[in-house]
């Protein structure tokens, strides 16, 4: 089966190349199409939208998996989805939500907003940016292929060995997990480097580090976390792949291996990963709260400092996920204190948000509702986090529903609320029209209430002795009604998501040319200063930045436009490329080859990637220029 699939993909790839080569007219038609434009684009705005679209799609899949989990747990001893199938559901739910929902949605916003916020025309490496996206998508599809061919991963999103080893998970599920994450991980790492270089090197004149909008700052720190956190995951996945496919013994106790190595590698990555998916949400919340309070961010400098400190401490605390593995009291004590200390910078942030609103003029748009709803929810998740940091207490919470409740408060109450705030906030910038506010209101309340209904009560579920990742519980355990309340809440969140989808369609339909406002929220940062829809070159002339909240400052000074830092001149643009998607396909083919133990195909895919890299190195492509009269034309039109 696997061989057939891989060969089929390869044949399709070759046909694509060959027909394109032989049939010039066809090629031209393809290259003129809208589809080709999106598949080969290197424009950060389009890539951002594709990230958001793909992340949204995976969100629906992951959400559906969550609903199935909650349905199974509605009754004690329910036999709707049991045993290994249930393990597949919970594994795929977790893996999908972290790697293919939270991260791409946030990276999507980074793409959409960061170059605009720093006054740049693009990211530092547009080609690699496209490659990042296609690798992420390839990895996501690969992970989910498990549902169709041979069974999905079933060892939990943490994929602990030996449960993830050949012996105890003989199907291809864990291989899909390993290769899928490896491929998308390469993409994420490239993306992290890209944003770091972009923010360091491509800021507009006058945009000093302490004038960066907070979302850009959190992007910067997040990218640094990606840079250092993904290599441990890469190594861990590589070792697990060696163990599964090439018969090595890293984790096999019988052959001298040690399964704790995986746990350490995973959490050295995994804990910073938690901050990777929360810090950008902090950034979005900061932007939204500041904008709709009509005030500059309270304590900007300490916010920046807190962000860096959280990022730094994020690397010192991973072992608090492993208090029960028997590291001994000294290690547990050290990691406990380190973990608790993270509460301090996080607390600073919470109070800064509160005092940003203090004395402001609050406008409760849907974006603001999600941002405001974020605060108490995240505080809840934060304080349970501190509770978990105490090892003796953690021996009780660990791997119980208390932990499930905690991290959903952080990941939904933090990340998802942040993302949804960002969706409503930046939607007009991306699509030229607002989302409907009344539907947004319904969406917010259903989601907010449904969320608390689902997860607040799960804290008690854990304290009453329900372990996580169980497909059922006994009637005598007395856990039934709590589980039922939780399921009802989950259904509410599902309905809320449907309302949102309807809102997307409805708002698109009712949008007119007049709904394209360039500054619909009376924004503060540079992305609201440029015409709507955003021209492909972003800024006709790079702006001169005079302070924090640059656009707000200009507006307060009575200016209608930004002051340019350069004369109007031809703009250099990178040309689009079909290579990123083909390179991703190469990795994909290679991954399939390894999954189905057809090592030749695995190597072939990698050769394909290297050939594409090699030939690109010889390609002399210096992009193209947009001439001055074209820019003038475009700016007039907007």
């Amino acid at each position: 089966m696997g061989t057939i699939v891989s060969i089929l993909v390869l044949v399709l790839f070759l046909t694509a190349i060959l027909t394109g080569g032989y049939n010039k007219k066809f090629l031209q038609r393809v290259q003129g199409s809208n589809m080709w434009d999106w598949l080969t684009t290197v424009d950060h705005k389009k890539i951002g939208i594709m990230y958001l679209g793909a992340g949204g799609f995976f969100f629906l899949i992951g959400g559906l998996e969550a609903l199935l989990i909650r349905v199974q747990l509605f009754y004690p001893n329910n036999d709707f989805i049991v045993g290994d199938t249930f393990n597949q559901l919970l594994t795929m739910h977790g893996t999908t939500m972290i790697f293919f929902v939270a991260m791409p949605l946030l990276i999507g916003f980074m793409n959409v907003a960061v170059p605009l916020q720093i006054g740049a025309r693009d990211v530092a490496f547009p080609f690699l940016n496209a490659l990042s996206f296609w690798l992420f998508l390839g990895g996501g599809i690969m992970l989910n292929l498990g549902w169709l061919f041979g069974g999905a991963a079933d060892a939990g999103w943490t994929s602990y060995v030996p449960i993830a080893s050949n012996q105890f998970s003989p199907g291809p599920g864990v291989d899909y997990y390993v290769l899928g994450l490896q491929i998308s991980g390469i993409g994420t790492l490239i993306g992290g480097i890209n944003f770091l270089v972009t923010i360091i090197n491509m800021r507009a004149p006058g945009m000093t580090f302490l004038r960066l909008p907070l979302f850009t700052w959190t992007t910067f720190v997040t990218s640094a976390l990606i840079l250092f956190a993904f290599p441990p995951l890469t190594v861990g996945l590589l070792l697990i792949m060696f163990d599964r496919i090439f018969g090595s013994h890293f984790f096999d106790a019988a052959m001298g291996g040690n399964s704790l190595i995986w746990q350490h590698l995973f959490w050295i990555f995994g804990h910073p990963e938690v901050y990777i998916v929360i810090l950008p949400a902090f950034g979005i919340i900061s932007e939204v709260i500041s904008t709709f309070s009509k005030k500059r961010l309270f304590g900007y400098n300490s916010m920046v400092f807190a962000t860096i400190l959280i990022g730094f401490l994020g690397f010192m605390v991973w072992a608090h996920h492993m208090f029960t593995v028997g590291m001994g009291p000294v290690a547990n004590a050290i990691f406990a204190v380190a973990t608790m200390s993270i509460a301090v910078p996080t607390g600073i942030k919470i109070f800064n948000w509160l005092f940003t609103m203090w004395g402001g003029r609050l406008q409760f748009t849907t974006a603001m509702k999600f941002a405001v709803g974020f605060i108490p929810t995240f505080v809840m998740g934060g304080v349970t986090g501190v509770m978990l940091a105490s090892p003796p207490a953690d021996y009780q919470y660990h791997d119980s529903y208390f932990v499930v409740a905690h991290f959903h408060y952080v990941l939904i109450g933090g990340t998802v609320f942040g993302v949804l705030a960002g969706v409503y906030y930046w939607w007009p910038r991306m699509f030229g029209h607002k989302l409907n506010e009344r539907l947004g209101n319904v969406h917010f309340w259903l989601f907010f209430i449904g969320f608390h209904l689902t997860f607040l009560i799960q804290h008690w579920l854990g304290l009453y002795g329900m372990p996580r990742r169980v497909f059922t519980y006994q009637a005598a355990d007395g856990l039934t009604w709590i589980n039922q309340v939780s399921t009802v809440g989950a259904v509410m969140m599902g309905v809320a998501t449907l309302v949102f989808l309807y809102n997307v369609v409805y708002s698109r339909k009712s949008a007119t040319a007049a709904s394209a406002e360039r500054d619909p929220w009376d924004g503060r940062t540079l992305e609201w200063a440029i015409p709507c829809p955003t021209p492909e070159y972003n800024f006709a002339q790079l702006p001169k930045v005079r302070g924090l909240d640059a656009w707000w400052m200009e507006k307060m000074a009575g200016n209608k436009e930004l002051e340019p830092a350069e004369p109007l001149q031809p703009i250099h643009m990178p040309s689009s490329s079909y290579r990123p998607i083909l390179m991703s396909l190469g990795f994909f083919v290679s991954g399939l080859g390894f999954i189905f133990r057809t090592i030749e195909v695995g190597v072939l895919g990698l050769v394909m990637v290297f050939l594409l890299m090699f030939t690109r190195s010889f390609e002399q492509d210096h992009g193209y220029h947009i001439e001055v009269d074209q820019i003038k034309e475009a700016e007039k039109g907007a």
Binding site: F125, L189, I193, H249
Partner: protein, 207 residues
């Protein structure tokens, strides 16, 4: 960017051709960041090796296996190649295409010699019953040293590719950052080796 274009039009390259263009600047910085990530990657492999180095299951131990003269030779070769690649970059900055190609050529040859020694070493070990699948120690050893070896291999292919390009197009502001970055990579591979010969071979000999 404007300055860069101007400089290519004249005969010489500016003092720091690798950072003269905007793209070059981005490339060099981005590559440094990548090396930061590689540092953590190798650190994790080192950690894994240190955790498993005594799990040889009765197979040959580090003391039985390692031969100091062989490692010393490999070390000298790689250190020298680090010097030759930096000499090549100096020639590049002086806009001496031929000499640069010569030094990079020497670098590649030294890299290949190193790989040859490594292959010889691995074959030797396999004969002594120390393989990737013989024990956790075997797995960890080959994962660490093999990853480094594959970096060396990639580096030789990369530098060779760039030399072919330079032979075709000559030196310009497009090529300079590529060479510069490749030489950074090569130094980094050398740095990793310094730790491999220290932690794996010398400390393995000590026990």
């Amino acid at each position: 960017m404007g300055a860069g274009n101007h400089a290519t039009a004249t005969t010489g390259l500016p003092a720091h051709p690798e950072k003269a263009t905007f793209e070059g600047k981005n490339k060099v910085l981005g590559f440094w960041l990548f090396l930061g990530a590689e540092t953590v990657l190798f650190a994790c492999l080192f950690g894994t090796y240190l955790a498993l180095k005594n799990s040889h299951l009765g197979g040959p131990t580090t003391q039985d296996l390692f031969e100091i003269p062989l490692v010393a030779a490999a070390t000298i070769i790689l250190l020298t190649s680090s010097l030759t690649s930096v000499l090549a970059v100096l020639e590049m900055k002086r806009n001496h295409l031929g000499r640069m190609q010569f030094w990079f050529g020497v670098t590649v040859l030294l890299g290949l010699a190193f790989l040859g020694l490594e292959i010889y070493e691995f074959v030797h070990y396999v004969h002594e019953g120390h393989t990737f699948t013989s024990s956790a120690f075997g797995s960890a050893f080959y994962a660490l040293v093999g990853t480094h070896g594959s970096h060396v291999l990639f580096g030789t292919v990369w530098i060779t590719t760039l030399m072919v390009q330079a032979a075709k197009r000559g030196l310009n502001l497009d090529m300079a950052p590529k060479f510069y970055v490749a030489s950074l990579y090569w130094h980094f591979v050398d740095v990793v080796w310094v730790f491999i010969f220290t932690v794996v071979y010398l400390m393995g000999k000590v026990g």
